[in-house]
């Protein structure tokens, strides 16, 4: 035993010496390296495997969309150079010429058709692409997107079409599985290999540990100012560790930034912090099926008036959020500037009195504790605020893995939910959160308040096929007004998005309110 240990020690020392000698050579890398730390890494290399913020961020690094959002929420061309509506159901896209995939295959209209067909198969994306009938390749550089009905969001949805290399993903892999198979829970060709047109190629990946990407030398966008030749992406889940990693200089760029550390980062002269209003709204739903009291609009209104959401934003969120009075954030079609936060404790007490609940009552509430920024603390603050109008709240918080089943089962009277519209459009909020729950149409899937107003439903449905954008906006603003007057739900705030980087990393030009920084364009000085 002793002898083995000794031998092992010798091996270790020898290996160490060897390593020390070899180390300097490895460090001499050419070009700029960006060390990136986020809270999680992409779950797969297949961009269609999951509809989530992390996967979209990855898609923008390794793939390119047909078109993309700008900072100002307008649409700019990417793989599609131009487009036109040729009839109410068809939009024609003219594709960029001379673009090559990472595999070397040329990018053509066929790839767009392949990609859309695959999107319609993907469990995550098929819902979003339900209104689309098909894509038709007119010639190599022209493709038509055809919808089933006239559809106002065709262009916005095209930001989700990241063309995949149809040749690369054809055929079968070694295990006999088709290369384009969408496999969520096992190995597949697409989960482990990529061929996109994007600014970076994946060179090394160990899930949950790191993802290394090199700049694509043949990237078509020669105008892109990006000068990063390598990205080393490490997931760091713990907020404090991620912040420390940036402060100590071990990484160059972090996202997200926890609100409680913003001041510290802002004070650091070597670090740039950017925070902008986001689009994810945090709300509470008051279950009218569970509680007789919540059927009374006055009680619901009283609760809204009792909750000091500007106070929550100021203290718990450290100003890193925007207090909300409605679902749609500013910039969305349905945003109604008249609907502002309502905090007025006296009015709340008055309303409780009018409703006949002056003495208050006792309710239950659940909230996640690792899903939204400071979700647990927000819930805790709400409990205190409601106690001031006599409502005693029994709160239980739980991790997200357990939360959603409980949410669906509606185990508590008040339930917290945050929502980001995948379509970047107001109607999406109402469809999931406040339209009458309907198993058949799938509307109101996350409406655990069981609020139901047919008039509101009609307006949302009508807005879908409205092609006149002004008219559509009017309808959606009306929807917000109805929900506001009915006190359909309790709006709390929109979470801000925040990023921090070393001063020499120019992060402002690449970030946007959709939360997918365009890393292809990042400049390090």
């Amino acid at each position: 035993m002793k002898r083995t240990l000794f031998a092992l020690a010798i091996v270790a020392v020898a290996a160490l010496a060897f390593q020390l000698a070899a180390a300097p050579a490895a460090q001499a890398a050419e070009g700029k390296v960006l060390k990136l730390a986020m809270d999680a890494d992409p779950v797969s290399l297949d961009p269609q495997i999951q509809l989530s913020g992390g996967m979209l961020q990855y898609s923008h690094m390794v793939f390119d969309p047909l078109v993309r959002w700008t900072k100002e929420m307008t649409i700019e061309p990417r793989l599609a150079e131009s487009w036109e509506q040729i009839d109410p159901k068809t939009m024609r896209f003219h594709l960029r010429k001379g673009v090559k995939f990472h595999s070397g295959n040329p990018f053509t209209a066929k790839d767009v058709v392949f990609t859309l067909n695959r999107l319609k198969e993907s469990p995550d994306f098929k819902g979003l692409f339900e209104p689309f009938e098909k894509a038709v390749a007119v010639d190599d550089n022209t493709v038509d997107l055809v919808t089933k009905e006239p559809y106002g969001l065709t262009l916005a949805m095209s930001t989700y079409i990241f063309p995949m290399d149809s040749v690369f993903y054809s055929g079968k892999d070694e295990s006999g599985q088709p290369k384009d198979a969408l496999v969520k829970t096992g190995p597949s060709f697409a989960n482990a290999n990529e061929s996109g047109t994007g600014p970076y190629k994946v060179v090394e990946r160990e899930q949950g540990v790191k993802l290394v990407m090199d700049r694509n030398p043949e990237y078509w966008d020669k105008k892109s100012p990006g000068n990063v030749s390598k990205i080393i992406f490490t997931p760091i889940k713990e907020d404090a560790t991620r912040v420390a990693a940036l402060l100590s200089g071990d990484v160059d760029f972090i996202e997200p930034v926890p609100p409680q550390d913003m001041k510290r980062l802002a004070d650091d002269p070597n670090i740039e912090l950017v925070s902008m209003p986001g689009t994810r709204v945090i709300t509470l739903q008051l279950n009218q099926k569970r509680r007789e009291e919540f059927k009374n609009p006055k009680v619901r209104e009283a609760i809204i008036y009792a909750i000091n959401n500007p106070g929550i934003v100021k203290t718990i969120m450290k100003g890193d959020a925007m207090a909300a009075g409605q679902q749609s954030p500013k910039g969305y079609a349905g945003y109604n500037p008249d609907l502002t936060p309502r905090f007025d404790l006296e009015k709340a007490k008055q309303l409780m009195k009018e409703a006949g609940y002056e003495k208050g009552f006792e309710v239950t509430m659940i909230a996640p504790n690792n899903r939204y920024v400071n979700d647990e603390k927000i819930a805790e603050a709400v409990v205190g605020m409601l106690s001031k109008i006599g409502i005693k709240v029994n709160l239980k918080t739980m991790p997200k893995a357990q939360y959603w089943d409980e949410f669906d089962n509606q185990v508590a009277d008040i339930q917290m939910i945050g929502w980001h519209a995948d379509t970047e459009d107001s109607a999406n909020f109402s469809e999931y959160l406040i339209m009458c729950p309907n198993k058949e149409t799938g509307m109101g899937q996350y409406n655990s308040g069981n609020y139901c107003n047919p008039k509101l439903d009609e307006l949302v449905i009508a807005s879908r096929s409205e092609l006149d954008m002004d008219k559509r906006a009017k309808m959606l603003q009306e929807v917000e007004k109805i929900a506001y007057d009915d006190a359909a739900f309790v709006p709390l705030h929109w979470q801000n998005l925040s990023w921090a980087a070393k001063k020499n990393v120019k992060l402002i030009p690449i970030v946007n309110i959709m939360d997918f920084p365009y890393f292809g364009d990042i400049v390090i000085e």
Binding site: A12, A15, L16, Q19, L20, A23, V43, S44, Q50, L51, S52, P123, D124, K126, G127, L128, V183, K184, T185, G186, P187, S188, N191, Q207, G208, V209, T234, P235, I236, K237, E238, A240, T241, A244, A245, L247, S248, G249, D250, N370, P399, K400, A401, Q402, Y403, W404, D405, W419, D422, Y432, G442, Q445, Y446
Partner: protein, 325 residues
């Protein structure tokens, strides 16, 4: 001896069967793995389809029998999240944790034995009181707090040590990514191993001190002094050897616990070992990985505790666990 090991092996299989069964019957408590695989807006029908494909809708017993059948061929199931065989995931994370635990154990052994022995020999001295008092501070500060304070002081302020991860790794023997053989790797190891040992140290210092004080009062030590043997020899050979039984027992339990559940240290230092993987699996409801992991951990505990039982005989000839009754 041989019969003893065979008996333990049979028991080990039984234990793993029981663990996997408990794991299976309670796995719904972890949450729904499908939730984590899809975006929030995916409809229930789509989720049901995936669950159906994964066989999650079958009765628990059917799933369990299927698991057992596969386990016979060495297949402990697929991790939903990592999209790899669960055993592969566990084994790929094991080196990180084992190296961390190894380093922490070294610190514990080299600090707790001298400190505990000294505090027993000179119980009234100032240094002893300092050792005994300050060791308590270690257990009364949560490890996540110790860890993050160390990161802030030594990484952020002083830039002495790297703040996270394992640093540069070299693959040894073709399968063991090791940080022990590079300077960078060793630098990354220092703070996590100190943080991890800080919570275990007080227990060992106190145990050794208590047992040692008893041993020093025993007849044979007094006799040895009377015989005029060298003091150091009496302390280390006569007295210290007799303190080892509880120390090794507790050591075994703690070692197993460190290997299995160094959750907080690994999380804070972003150390990609089994503890961090365990939390990831819990948070993502990756039930198949969790069950496989529980079986693995059960094995670790049985191996460690069997070793402990074998060591008993070496330390104290009066204890016979291994031999015939």
């Amino acid at each position: 001896m041989f019969a003893f090991l065979i008996r333990r092996l049979v028991q080990a299989v039984l234990v793993m069967l029981i663990i996997s069964f408990i794991g299976f019957s309670l796995k719904h408590a972890f949450g729904d793995p499908v939730r984590d695989l899809v975006g929030v807006s995916v409809s229930k029908e789509e989720r049901d389809k995936i669950a159906e494909k994964l066989g999650l809708h079958d009765p628990v017993m059917v799933q369990y029998v299927r698991f057992l059948k596969n386990a016979l061929t060495g297949d402990l199931g697929y991790s939903y999240f990592f999209k790899k065989p669960a055993l592969d995931v566990i084994l790929s994370k094991a080196p990180a944790t084992l190296e961390l635990v190894f380093a922490a154990s070294l610190i514990i052994v080299f600090l707790s034995i001298p400190a505990g022995v000294y505090a027993a020999i000179r119980p009234r001295s100032f240094l002893s009181r300092l050792i005994m008092g300050s060791s308590i501070v270690g257990v009364s500060i949560p490890v996540f707090f110790t860890a993050i304070m160390m990161i802030y002081i030594f990484s952020v302020e002083l830039h002495w040590a790297p703040s996270f991860g394992r640093g540069e790794l070299v693959t040894l023997f073709g399968f063991w990514p090791s940080g022990l053989v590079t300077l960078d790797g060793l630098e990354h190891l220092i703070m996590p191993s100190i943080a991890l040992s800080s919570i275990m140290l007080p227990l060992f210092i106190r145990l050794i001190q208590a047992e040692m004080m008893e041993a020093l009062q025993s007849e044979y030590v007094k006799f040895a002094f009377a015989k005029g043997l060298k003091t150091f020899r009496i302390y280390m050979v006569h007295a210290f050897k007799n303190t080892l039984l509880p120390v090794i027992t507790v050591g075994g339990v703690q070692l197993g616990t460190m290997i299995a559940f160094t959750i907080l240290t690994e999380t804070v230092f972003n150390w990609q070992g089994m503890g961090a993987m365990f939390v990831e699996a819990v948070e993502r409801g990756d039930t198949s990985l969790l069950v496989a992991y529980l079986v693995f951990v059960g094995m670790v505990f049985i191996v460690v505790n069997t070793c402990v039982d074998l060591v008993y005989g070496l330390v104290n000839p009066m204890v016979r666990v291994a031999g015939r009754k």
